[in-house]
């Protein structure tokens, strides 16, 4: 289109309705230009640029046309820039300033419409300011495929609204705030909170899931007050609402802002001193093996580097590991990128529904489906596809994904590793052969995987080897958000390392356990082991932003600075390093990890030097981790667990439920996080389609709210991992009994 061609040579043609992701519409007409040999002015957004075309953007005719359109847009637009949230960030204001007429000629009455009309708990619409560019409606309806906003009425009475009583619920709805070129769609939480001239707006990357979307953080008076999407080359700048509206987590009431020793408040300096002295004493007496460090993978790369050096140099070689909410390890050699995803001939969702686990990746997939007809494949223990992302899927028994993948591969490949992985498994049936054929298609394959089922790692390696020179890539959708930072600095990220550390702690072989942002009781797949470790280890210290489960067992707590409170580097799920800047200050006594560790090291007697001279980007290629070669042998995959009667527990990761605590995002908090097939709910007597249930296995049980979801196969109950107060990692086993219970307390 002419407008894009002009942009490549640095000529800015104003647009409202046009957006490259949405395609041309031609509605607003602000982009009128004069094109030689054409009788009328043309819209630059709908006219394809051709060779030899001569376009005038500043001719008298073009300027008059544009001025006329601006004047039209203003006749029903209130002149309230001084009190408008978008004042200073508004394209109408900008263009009028740049191209508009000086004198207003319209003297008639403006149409009165809704102002500050809530279409969702997060979004207000000011219909008087709307220029009807349709970006929001088209984004929701066509791009996302969730038609929640609509154009109501006709002609000059057309407004953007929702159906009364049906608020927007899509997790992508917040993007319309960014898309709106004027101040018509407003963020309710940001409304009247700040003005463009008293804020700081810094480039950052969202901290709530491993996608790490590029964004801008707005700080005011030391607090984060807003997060917006930020387009970068190759990325549209979409955010999901879980990320967008969790920006306030740093100010959450449960945020750690003071240091504690044995439950008593102390200064950070004092706590660091005590910790340093205790560590020195323990290492002196028992050696470095008596101390271990576990990271939760949410701190920055720089912090992880400090942690690593602390373990190596100060403690003299203590073990370190990563606590992640899944049991499997990704062969890093297979780590893929979003660019590769966009070019993949085949995409497999392996146990993960990116809409839940990595929402913006869902949008990327949908765009691929729309743009180039990609047919997504899915293999899971529940239905992973959805209306907005149709494709082809295979649903297998709980715990059976690895066996299915290995059998499917072996069903169509003679490769020795494929055979080895499938050794002892039943041969692929017709349906799995079809899956195998799909996965062995020539061209590039990208697998989205949520890291459940340990045996999927060898099965994936076997698949990659069987595919030979056709690229096989894996994008891990599991958190923690910055777990690859551990990989960057050489902290082992595998399950076995952290399991060993916890076992040793539980067996009394570790005297001091240092948890850095790690919450093993909640997150570690073997929750019982983690709980035993915390109970038996004589001294557990915690540094981080929110208290972990079992906080009462801690010997000491050190509050650390969080995302946006300092500049820092994060590694996203494609292994890309991204450095965000700070826009707020850490509250209370919270301090950057590096400062705290330095203080501990000083008290220990072995200062940590030159931490700041390290460059996280050193040795990376295109800002991306350098991946190891694909090595190691494949082992046979275990057969799927035998079918048992009763319900089976399945799980997965959901950003919506496991993001940081946030008062803003709590507006739409789901209090029935578990899901079952509606018919199963009816069988349990939950005829309204939701309610509390008790899940039990052996002598363990807990209660959780459950809602109906036809995408969960019958006989299964889906409970997300990592939820506070919903300890599925302590049920031990996938056979569970489910019974409906009385509502405990009204919410």
């Amino acid at each position: 289109m002419v407008v894009d061609a002009a942009a490549t040579v640095g000529i800015d043609i104003p647009v409202y309705c046009y957006h490259q992701a949405l395609g041309p519409l031609g509605a607003c007409r602000i982009c009128l230009v004069e094109i030689e040999k054409m009788p009328k002015l043309m819209t630059a957004c709908t006219t394809a640029a051709t060779d030899g075309m001569v376009v005038h953007t500043q001719s008298q005719a073009a300027e008059k046309g544009r001025r006329g359109i601006l004047e039209f847009l203003l006749i029903n637009h209130p002149l309230d820039c001084p009190i408008c949230d978008k004042g200073g960030e508004c394209f109408l204001q900008d263009y009028v300033f740049q191209y508009g007429a000086g004198q207003a000629r319209f003297e008639e009455a403006k149409i009165q419409r809704h102002k500050e009309y809530p279409v969702s708990p997060y979004i207000l619409v000011d219909q008087e300011r709307c220029v009807l560019c349709q970006r929001c409606v088209r984004f929701m309806g066509e791009y996302v495929g969730e038609e929640e906003l609509l154009m109501d009425g006709r002609g000059v009475h057309t407004v953007i609204t929702n159906v009364p009583g049906i608020p927007l619920t899509s997790p992508f709805s917040g993007n319309v705030i960014d898309l709106c070129p004027v101040g018509a769609l407003l963020s309710e939480p940001y409304h009247y909170r700040a003005r463009p001239w008293n804020i700081e707006r810094e480039d950052t990357y969202c901290s709530q899931c491993p996608v790490g979307c590029s964004s801008s953080v707005t700080g005011r008076d030391g607090q984060v007050v807003r997060l917006e999407g930020r387009p970068t080359p190759g990325q549209w700048g979409w955010l999901c609402d879980h990320g967008r509206f969790t920006y306030d987590f740093g100010a959450h009431p449960t945020r750690l802002t003071e240091a504690r020793l044995d439950g008593e408040p102390v200064t950070v300096g004092r706590a660091a001193q005590v910790l340093g002295q205790r560590l020195a004493a323990v290492v002196r007496e028992h050696g470095p093996d008596a101390v271990a460090v576990l990271t939760g993978g949410s701190h920055t790369v720089e912090d992880h580097y400090a942690l690593r050096r602390f373990a190596d140099e100060v403690l003299g070689g203590s073990r370190a590991g990563l606590v992640k909410p899944v049991e499997a390890d990704l062969p890093l050699a297979l780590l893929g990128t979003f660019a590769e995803l966009d070019q993949s001939d085949t995409v497999l969702l392996l146990g993960t529904d990116p809409y839940e686990s990595a929402p913006v990746v869902h949008l990327a997939l949908r765009e691929n489906v729309r743009r180039r007809g990609l047919v997504v494949k899915a293999l899971g223990d529940r239905h992973l596809l959805r209306d907005t992302l149709a494709g082809e899927e295979w649903v297998v028994e709980p715990g059976g994904m690895a066996a299915a993948l290995a059998a499917a591969t072996a069903g169509v490949s003679e490769h020795p590793d494929a055979r080895l992985a499938a050794e002892g498994l039943a041969p692929a049936d017709e349906s799995l052969v079809r899956l195998g054929q799909a996965l062995m298609e020539p061209g590039a394959l990208t697998v989205l995987w949520d890291g459940r089922e340990q045996d999927l790692a060898p099965a994936l390696v076997a698949l990659a080897r069987a595919r030979g020179e056709h690229p096989t890539r894996v994008l891990p959708t599991f958190g923690p958000r910055n777990w690859l930072a551990a990989a960057r600095v050489g902290i082992p990220t595998d399950y076995e390392t952290s399991r060993r550390i916890l076992m040793d702690a539980a067996d009394g072989r570790i005297q001091v356990l240092l948890l850095w942002g790690a919450d093993p009781v909640r997150d570690f797949p073997d929750g019982d082991l983690a709980a035993r470790a915390l109970e038996r280890c004589p001294e557990v210290y915690f540094g981080g932003v929110f208290p972990p489960d079992g906080a009462e067992l801690l010997a000491g707590v050190l509050p650390t600075a969080a995302w946006a409170e300092e500049a820092g580097t994060y590694v996203n799920m494609e292994g890309r390093l991204q450095t965000g800047r700070g826009a707020a200050s850490a509250p209370g006594q919270a301090r950057p990890t590096r400062n705290i560790l330095q203080a501990v090291a000083r008290a220990y007697g072995t200062p940590l030097r030159k931490l700041d001279e390290w460059d996280p980007y050193e040795g990376t290629v295109d800002d991306r981790l350098v991946l190891p070669p694909l090595e190691g042998s494949v082992r046979p995959v275990s057969p799927p667990p035998a079918a048992e009667s009763g319900f089976r527990l399945i799980s997965g990761l959901e950003v919506a439920l496991t993001h940081d605590p946030s008062e803003v995002a709590a507006r739409t908090k789901e209090d029935r996080p578990a899901r079952m097939h509606p018919a199963d709910l009816a069988d349990l007597g939950l005829l309204t389609g939701s309610g509390p249930v008790e899940l039990s296995s052996g002598d363990r049980s807990f209660r959780v709210g459950v809602r109906g979801d036809p995408r969960i196969p019958r006989g299964r109950v889906f409970v997300p991992r990592g939820l506070r107060g919903v300890p599925i990692n302590r049920l031990g086993g996938i056979a569970v009994a489910v019974r409906a219970v009385e509502e405990v307390a009204s919410r």
Partner: protein
């Protein structure tokens, strides 16, 4: 939700026939969203206007977002989403009819019915609406009563529209 569930408990009812009307519309127009308008016409012919439940039903049976249905309905001036009287009187206000006195006619009707254009009489007997060119300029001032043409109706003969035996909705 099924219509049976919705038809219970004193909630505004779904007409049990809607399901078959929707099916018929889909059978006749299976492609795109074409079945929507025929279904809405059928409901409006039956009830005179489109209750919110009818829009819910359209969304449900035709498998369309409720928002989509709302958006389409609001575009077309014949689709009514407010209670509508037994007789809907449309007075054409476009140029040829205006030249023949449709303004005075409309005014007389407003006086006689005691409502403004766009409103329904409290007894639910009449709804008075203005129309754009009805393609009946030879009958200027042209009107429709329940979409049946009546004209010419000189302003002083407005009573014709209220009394003359034109077909009502039931046989429309």
């Amino acid at each position: 939700m099924t219509s049976e569930e919705l038809g219970t408990g004193g909630a505004p009812e779904w007409n049990p026939e809607w399901a078959s009307w929707a099916a018929a519309a889909r059978e006749e127009f299976p492609r795109a969203q074409s079945a929507l308008m025929p279904f809405l016409h059928r409901v409006q012919t039956d009830e005179g206007w489109l209750r919110p439940e009818a829009l819910d039903a359209a969304a449900h049976y035709l498998e369309l977002p409720r928002q989509y249905v709302e958006s389409v309905v609001s575009f077309y001036s014949l689709f009514r989403t407010e209670v509508t009287g037994h007789r809907t009187i449309h007075v054409c206000m476009s140029l040829s009819c205006a030249l023949a006195g449709s303004d005075a006619l409309l005014h007389n009707l407003e006086e006689a019915l005691g409502v403004r254009v766009g409103q329904t009489t409290p007894d639910g007997a009449y709804t008075l609406l203005e129309a754009e060119c009805l393609a009946a300029c030879d009958l200027a001032p042209a009107c429709q009563v329940n979409l049946r043409y009546v004209g010419p109706v000189p302003p002083e003969r407005f009573q014709t529209l209220l009394e003359e035996e034109v077909s009502t909705r039931e046989d429309a």
